[in-house]
Each structure stands twice: as C-alpha cells, then as structure tokens.
Symmetry: C2
Subunit: 194 residues, 2 copies
Amino acid sequence: MTDGILTRDQILSAAQDVLRRYGPAKATVVDVARALGVSHGSVYRHFPSKAALREAVTQRWLEESHVLLAAVMTSGGPAGARLRAWSSSLFAAKRKKALDDPELFATYMALVGEASEVIDRHVADLVGQLQEIISDGVAQGEFAAPDPASAARAVFDATIRFHDPAHAGDWGRPGIEDEFDAVHTLILAGLARR
Amino acid sequence: MTDGILTRDQILSAAQDVLRRYGPAKATVVDVARALGVSHGSVYRHFPSKAALREAVTQRWLEESHVLLAAVMTSGGPAGARLRAWSSSLFAAKRKKALDDPELFATYMALVGEASEVIDRHVADLVGQLQEIISDGVAQGEFAAPDPASAARAVFDATIRFHDPAHAGDWGRPGIEDEFDAVHTLILAGLARR
DNA sequence: TGAATGACAGAAGTTGAAATCTGTCATCTG
DNA sequence: CAGATGACAGATTTCAACTTCTGTCATTCA
C-alpha cells in the first residue's frame, strides 16, 4: 500500500503511469493495482470498469488543454486574433501531446473510436469556447454570424484536420503549418463582416 | 480459363469481385486466380505484387468519382454554385461508396493508411479540380484568392470531414448535412470578393 | 462497519505448431 | 517463344490449447 487510504486520485495517477509505460493495449487493471500495492478488487471499488478508468484518465489529461485554451480565450484583443491564437494553441497542444505522450495519445485515439461520453463533452467544451469568441466578435462588429453556435461548430469542423487524432499522422509533415494558416485565413475571411 | 487470353482488365474485375466478397483482410491472390480459372503465377505476370493489384482496383474505383465530378465542374453557372455542387457531389459519392460497397471502401481506407501513390494522385486530382473552379471564380470577379492553388488546398482541408474515409463513421449521423452546409457557407463567404 | 482481499467464472489474449499465402522461377505448352 | 504453369522458400495467417485478465462477491481485516 502506498498509504493508509486508497483514493480515486491515486488510482488515476497510477493508471496514467501504467498507460504511459505499457500503452492502452498492454496496460491491465492488475498492473495498476500492483503499482499501488493493492489488489485489483480495490480498484473496482472506485471505478466500475476498466473502460471507466481509462476514460477518467483521458478526461483528466484532456482537461489540461481546456485550462490552457480558456486562458487564451479570455485574453484581450480583437476576436479575430483571439480566434487564431485559440485554434493555433489547440493545434499546438494536440501535436505536443501526440509527440510527448504517444501511449496516452493512443488511449485517447481508442476512446475517439468508441464514441465515448468523455470525448463528446470534450468536443462540446471546445465548441463552446469557440462560440464565445465568435459571439464576442459579433458583439464588437468584427464578425458576422447569424448563428454563432452553428458557426462555432463549422469552425471546429473546418479545422478538424488540425485537432482530430485521426489526422495525427499528418501533423509532422512539412508544410502542415502553412496548410493550417491557409485554412484559418479562409475561415477568418468567412467570418468577417463585409 | 475464362477466355483464351488473360487481360489486365479481366484480372482487375475478378479482383474487385473477390475484394467485394471477402474484404481486403481475407482476399488472396489465389482467390483471384481461382475466380479466373488460372494459376496465381499468371496474375503475377500482369501485376508485380498483391499491393499493386489492390492499388489498381482502388484506382479504377476512384476514377468513377473523378468522371462524375469533372462533369459537375464543367457545368455552367457562377463559380460559387459550381463549387458547392462539386463539394456536395464529392460528399455524396463518398458516402454512397461507403454504404454500397463497404468492403471496397475498407480496401480504400487501408490504402489511405499506407500513404500510397494512388491516394496522392487522387487527392492531387481533386485539389486540381477545385483549383480550376476557384481560378474561374477569380477570373469572373466572384472570388478573391491571391493564390488559387493554396486556396484549393485549404477548401479541400476544411471539408476533410466530409470526404476523408477516416470520418466515414460520422456520415450516417443525423445533422451531418447541416454541418456540411455550415462549413461550406463559411468557406464560400471566405472566398467571396469583398 | 466500511474498506480491502483473493478465489472464481467467463472473456480476452497469447503462443507455437500447422496451414496457407506471396512472390520467384525453371519448366511446359500451343 | 510468349504466355501459362505449379513446385518451392520464406513470410504470414490460422487454430486450438493454454495463460492471463476482467469483473463479482463471499469472506477477512482493522
């Protein structure tokens, strides 16, 4: 035992370590329990299933990005610049994760393939942040968007190549930055009031 | 033997049938040869490898879309309408293929994962068609695009959710049409001369 | 009494031997 | 002699026995 009492957070940290070390295909609940010096039954007291544990780890991992992006979002300046900074940060954050933490990223990718609750919330969260920026831009007369919610979703979809893990293989290609710029320039022009 | 002489085209058709029936994971060169009533050595006289055969089948299959899209592209009317019709047709064609021919579509998806020559040409071809429409629009004063090639690539990337097989799982979702419309409206606004 | 355990059943994954497949090529055939 | 064949080596896949894992729960422990 690492300590007298076993907490949800301890389990999450241990699970994250195990996932990082072995990857989603090899990591087992028994491994996590062993890392904590407890029996695997104890892990099941805190999480109903291995899937739930995996999801909780991924959720915590994704929240790092949310915090970072929220900071960019609330920084001052024109909405266009903030939108660009936000998208650019999202791309950079995802790319960094894919590179720095390939095993956790693989866990995240597996989760995407399962249409999980956690991913849906992650996406809804991101689109919500986009919507705020766009609404701000409309309020300030910088953007024209009859339906900011739909516009936010459209911006999210149009930049999907630069944040969806399905395209992570492209993120190392030369020229990807230019392609991101071209897409984002097109989008900004599309939002601008004419 | 199906006939006195074995042609490349006969092999392609037989291979397509076999792929359709068994899927890319199960289809073998021996199956193809058996379907033709020849030895598998004869197939290797026309194709250097199983991979080359798979690629040739996929290429032929993808060309159907090219022909269809070329027709849309050269139809009259304003560039904006043609661009929308083109994108819309591409989306519809891909979705139809994914639904009607799941096994051939799986073959195509596997090919995408291998960064093949055929896919690169397919993409270059499509972006080329886009570029023509955009250049036309610029010439007619309808669009503003300093670099039509880059703009074409940006339009292709921004609509990737609606033509890349990695997202085929989303194509059956309710609301996908609206999402396509929202993205495309954003893009058209971004291209329009102001 | 609330948290932890570990034995257990059924599911999932591993392993290694056997079967099949890919790609080559010397030989055959019309 | 161009085109087809089928035997062959090495690579890959299949299959079934075996191992490990997941999730449950009656029991133990503090």
